[in-house]
């Protein structure tokens, strides 16, 4: 992995970004769809207070929830779909015939997706704070950033790994939704699940979505003292990131293998 290869990977990120933003529909789906939820929920219910959570304003629940949704949508679903498309459409085969290392091309694709994720998260945080007065403050910003970075890495590595089980890109979105949609519903992302049965919460807590939403929520909770980190949530995310890295490595090996 030379400096030249890193520069090439950087160029691939740039070209992929340029292509991405020109496709208005994909850009709209990735960015504005989650934003639409935020605006609708924030406008209708933002000021409602949750007695079960010490009077927490609903907007301080929605912002971390919808940021989580965006990270899943882009980091997991979109990454898995794109890598499956690279494989199924013969693009990786084409790259293998050139001097560009396959990893540099894949890194360009994944890097570009990470930038889209960062843009999406930044927009939602900005709208949440500026338009709806979500309770983000400097003291908990470190915790928020650490949780975002870990969550983004976690879902992206899992997304790369999941590209292996996505077959044809046309049917892939359905397969991914079967995994992500139920998890989103049980993970305290869309609506507060204070009355959910204990076993359901335990299942949700074992997957990365609930800890991500909960970890991000800590930073928005006015009752939080300290830097806004939730050790338990970060530990689950870190464990899943390790799993994601291991599975991702296997997937990437399979991708570069010849028969």
């Amino acid at each position: 992995m030379s400096t030249r290869d890193l520069a090439l990977a950087g160029w691939q990120v740039r070209y992929t970004q340029r292509s991405f933003w020109r496709n208005r529909r994909a850009a709209f789906f990735s960015l504005f769809f989650p934003l639409l939820f935020l605006v609708v929920f924030g406008t209708l219910l933002g000021d409602v207070r949750l007695d079960s959570r010490g009077g927490l304003r609903l907007i301080d629940f929605y912002v971390p929830g919808i940021v989580t949704y965006a990270i899943v949508l882009i980091g997991f679903n979109a990454t898995a779909m794109q890598l499956a498309a690279l494989r199924e459409n013969g693009i990786l085969k084409r790259i293998r015939m050139t001097p560009l290392p396959t990893w540099a091309y894949v890194a360009g694709t994944v890097g570009s997706t990470l930038l889209v994720m960062a843009a999406s998260v930044a927009i939602m945080l900005a709208v949440g704070v500026l338009a709806f007065g979500a309770h983000l403050r400097l003291s908990t910003l470190p915790g928020l950033l650490v949780t975002l970075l870990l969550g983004g890495a976690c879902l992206t590595t899992l997304g790369i790994a999941a590209s292996r089980v996505v077959g044809k890109p046309e049917s892939g979105m359905g397969i991914l939704m079967v995994v992500t949609l139920p998890l989103i519903f049980v993970s305290d992302v869309w609506f507060p699940l204070d009355d959910a049965p204990g076993w359901l919460s335990a299942i949700a807590g074992a997957f990365p979505l609930e800890p991500l939403a909960s970890g991000l929520g800590v930073a928005f909770d006015p009752s939080t003292t300290g830097v806004g980190m939730s050790g338990g949530d970060l530990a689950v995310l870190a464990a899943w990131t390790v799993v994601g890295c291991a599975l991702m490595t296997r997937t990437l090996r399979a991708v570069t293998r010849r028969d």
Binding site: L8, W11, Q12, Y15, T16, R18, S19, F20, R22, N23, Q82, A85, L86, N89, G90, I91, K93, R94, R96, M97, T98, P99, L100, P101, T109, R258, D259
Partner: protein, 302 residues
């Protein structure tokens, strides 16, 4: 280096399927070799073995003196592969895609030169997704040439082209051959092989069944010529002198002469006609076409 591509006793098996069965093949630097064969003959597998995209079950491949399966970068830098393509970044323009690919190589061909070479200047700022099928194929070709390769693998370069576009693609390939490029071309189209190839290899059931310059393939030049013409009223085939070694039969309203030496037979027949002032309407001499030879070769091995 004496050989640009060299394969020796190459085999590829997939389970019970023996797709390539002992192929020996050499391509000299600067030569255009055309690989012909019906669907399922093993063309794609053979080409992928030569490219290093697949590993042989047995035998050896050498590409520019190296083992292509090792995927060495220095080798990839000198080899172009034209695949029928999709582009992930299909919102990029033609010139942007050419720039992107050019960055990957040590001695790239400038995008403007590529555009001129494949006659795609008019579409330089069009997005890849908006190109017509023919334009896409030309972009594929340009991308394969982006690294100024010494060897080019070209898979059915003009499938789906109109006649004008085909001639244009042929001009591009002929121009590159003039620069010393080695080309391994696969095609279904025999006129394409005839127009471009220095040598043709016919693949059937995983084996090379004939190999040679297009005009000599399968002993084509040694096959008898066919001479056809019509006779005026009052004359029949029996009135025509049979040239030495030839056979002469009625063919519909006219006459068919099959002669091992077409030139001598034609000379004899036209001499007779001029002497007697007999018009030989529709007089024509034909060697078997490459297609005739190809069909007889691949049918014999079916």
């Amino acid at each position: 280096m004496r050989r640009a591509i060299e394969a020796h006793d190459l085999h590829k098996r997939y389970g019970d399927v023996h797709a390539v069965r002992g192929v020996d093949l050499t391509v000299a630097p600067g030569e255009v070799l055309c690989l012909l064969g019906p669907n399922g003959a093993g063309k794609t597998t053979l080409v992928e073995l030569l490219e290093g995209h697949r590993l042989p079950s047995a035998g050896s491949v050498s590409l520019l003196g190296r083992d292509p399966a090792r995927g060495e970068r220095a080798l990839r830098d000198r080899v172009g592969v034209v695949l029928q393509g999709t582009f992930l970044q299909d919102e990029l323009t033609v010139v942007e895609l050419l720039e992107m690919h050019a960055r990957w190589y040590d001695r790239p061909r400038p995008p403007d030169e590529l555009l001129e070479l494949v006659e795609l200047d008019a579409a330089r700022d069009a997005r890849a997704r908006d190109l017509s099928g023919g334009q896409r194929r030309r972009l594929d070709l340009a991308l394969g040439l982006a690294g100024r390769p010494d060897v080019l693998f070209l898979d059915e370069p003009t499938t789906g082209f109109d006649p004008h576009a085909r001639r244009q693609a042929w001009r591009t390939i002929q121009a590159l051959r003039g620069e010393g490029l080695t080309v391994l071309l696969t095609t279904h189209m025999l006129d394409e092989a005839q127009a471009l190839a220095d040598r043709v290899a016919v693949l059937a059931h995983g084996e090379i069944v004939a190999e040679g310059p297009p005009e000599l393939l399968g002993g084509r030049h040694e096959r008898p010529a066919e001479i056809r013409f019509a006779l005026p009223d009052g004359l029949g085939p029996a009135d025509v002198p049979t040239p030495p070694g030839a056979t002469l039969v009625r063919d519909g309203d006219g006459v068919l002469v099959t002669a091992p030496d077409g030139v001598a037979a034609a000379h004899r027949l036209t001499g007779w006609a001029l002497e007697r002032d007999v018009p030989l309407a529709g007089f024509r001499v034909a060697q078997p076409t490459l297609e005739d030879v190809y069909l007889s070769l691949t049918e014999a091995h079916a």
